[in-house]
């Protein structure tokens, strides 16, 4: 299933945050959204998943979601959004219960996603017992449990320290390589974008417009740390963004 953004514009009151954004998120690819802070990239993600309604334009699903898909558009949040009173197992079963999946059937799915995120030993742990990286892996496992057609990842690694981030990036690459998934991935970290993105959408500062779309052909598995070609791309992205990032940083926030 593809996602198409058709001339999306969005304003909060008088403040225009997004202007005329049209692009495709093709099936099986990871599309990264980068841009200076406040450029509306997180807003765009909320629009894609239907958590907010765009002022103008439409978000379209092209094609049907794969079979067995319970929640086509599934988020992975920056702050993990795990229920602190439920165990790892309970947090995942939460999103299955409403689809009538309980008991042994749920246990099978949960065991599978926990194995894929290397969390099998922690199914009874409470979120407060887990490190940040593990919490985010639980959130990813929860997202995988509903077999999403598109994963909407809102700065999923931004709350983590740089070492954990590095490890989780490897995990994401491994997950994608085993079974490719479609994702819209919002980040302000260009290293993440060039590491995980098949396509990188650079947004300008507010009101956010598409400045450039960079395609990276290199397979995810080959993108090792310190790869010169990736570093060139990263530098190119940074050159494009530097001035805007500085200007955005000096703006007053009143959104």
């Amino acid at each position: 299933m593809d996602i198409r953004l058709d001339a999306i514009s969005h304003s909060y009151g008088d403040t225009e945050v997004l202007r005329d954004i049209s692009l495709d998120i093709p099936n099986g690819k990871i599309v990264c959204f980068v841009g200076p802070s406040g450029c509306g990239k997180s807003t765009l993600l909320r629009l894609i998943g239907g958590l907010e309604r765009a002022t103008k334009g439409r978000v379209l699903q092209l094609g049907t979601p794969p079979e067995g898909c319970l929640n086509p558009l599934t988020y992975v949040f920056q702050d993990f959004a795990l229920l602190p009173w439920r165990s790892v197992h309970g947090n995942i079963s939460l999103v299955l219960e409403d689809h009538g999946i309980k008991g042994a059937q749920a246990d099978t799915i949960i065991a599978d996603v926990l194995a894929r995120t290397k969390l099998s030993d922690f199914s009874k742990a409470l979120p407060r017992q887990l490190s940040g990286g593990m919490k985010q892996r639980v959130a990813i496992a929860r997202a995988l449990a509903v077999k999403p057609a598109v994963m909407l990842m809102d700065e999923p690694l931004s709350a983590l320290d740089s070492q954990t981030r590095e490890l989780l990036m490897d995990d994401l690459v491994a997950l994608w390589t085993r079974q490719s998934f479609t994702a819209a991935y919002v980040t302000h970290n260009l290293a993440e974008a060039v590491r995980l993105g098949h396509r990188i959408v650079v947004l300008s500062r507010r009101p956010g417009e598409v400045r450039e779309i960079v395609e990276i052909d290199m397979p995810l598995a080959d993108r090792s740390h310190g790869n010169t070609k990736l570093e060139q791309t990263q530098k190119h992205l940074w050159d494009m963004m530097r001035d805007e990032a500085r200007a955005a940083d000096e703006e007053l926030l009143d959104v």
């Binding site: 599934t74 602190p84 009173w85 999103v95 219960e97 409403d98 407060r128 929860r142």
Partner: protein
């Protein structure tokens, strides 16, 4: 930074962290009780506390023993407990329900918050005659008074607790397509539980206060009636025996809530 003159002695960095983290200290509470009662006992025995000021704790205990032996204790305690249980249960459950509605629906909030603010400061005891007219002199008016008194603090605590539920968790629930009812049942309610329970501590203490008030009017048996009778005879031993029962009731209720908190809120720790 450094002085030009002779090198100074190194100074150890002064510790200035610590504190602001209360820990469980088991027997201190008991010790405070024992100490105060002990002082009173010694004072009344030696005479520097006159028997008009305070009764001897041992005499209060003896009165308590008589109450127990004559079977009067339960004759007074059982109607009081049932009034407390029924009244507080009605008040707290309606309070929690209304509080959750206020937390969830804008119109209920707009309509009810000013009303609750208007009801809250009314001394419910002043309304007792009104309740007698509405519900009769029997148990119903006592239930109503206690229920009414527990209702307002429960509402305020509950909607405050619902307001404090992490919005990102609700957003998460919506993003996974959870039904409205599931979000309320599995995210809002457990998230509001800490606030609801700490509100109940206050509501139940108020319920005990109102229990006595209700029983001071038209009740043959009950802790309140017992205290009122003792008070009008200036029988301080019996008065204090009654008061001690109320205090014990308060401590027991608070312990029960503490127990429920440990069971339900173990995830916080």
């Amino acid at each position: 930074m450094s002085d030009a003159t002779a090198p100074t002695q190194p100074i150890e960095v002064r510790f200035r962290g610590g504190g602001f983290a209360p820990k469980a200290r088991r027997w201190v509470g008991l010790f405070v009780f024992v100490f105060l009662i002990g002082i009173t006992e010694i004072g009344t025995r030696q005479g520097w506390i006159s028997s008009l000021t305070l009764p001897k704790p041992s005499d209060v205990l003896a009165t308590f023993g008589e109450l127990w032996e004559s079977g009067l204790l339960f004759k007074h305690l059982i109607p009081s407990l049932s009034r407390l249980a029924v009244g507080a249960a009605i008040g707290a459950s309606i309070g929690i329900a209304v509080g959750i509605m206020i937390g969830l629906f804008s119109y209920v909030r707009a309509g009810m918050v000013p009303l609750v603010a208007a009801i809250f400061p009314i001394p419910k005891i002043a309304l007792l005659p009104l309740f007698v007219i509405w519900f009769g002199i029997d148990e119903a008016s006592k239930y109503a008074l206690i229920a009414f008194g527990t209702f307002t603090p429960t509402v305020v605590a509950t909607y405050g607790a619902v307001d404090n539920v992490d919005r990102s968790l609700i957003r998460m629930g919506q993003s996974f397509g959870l039904s409205w009812l599931s979000i309320v049942r599995k995210i809002v309610l457990p998230g509001a539980m800490p606030g609801i329970l700490s509100g109940l501590r206050i509501s139940l203490a108020i319920a005990i206060i109102l229990l006595v008030a209700a029983e001071m009017l038209g009740a043959e048996y009950g802790i309140g009636a017992y205290i009122l009778e003792a008070g009008s005879l200036y029988d301080l031993e019996r008065l204090f025996a009654g008061v001690v029962i109320l205090s014990l009731l308060g401590v027991i209720l608070s312990t029960v809530i503490g127990f429920i908190e440990r069971r339900l809120l173990g995830w916080r720790a």
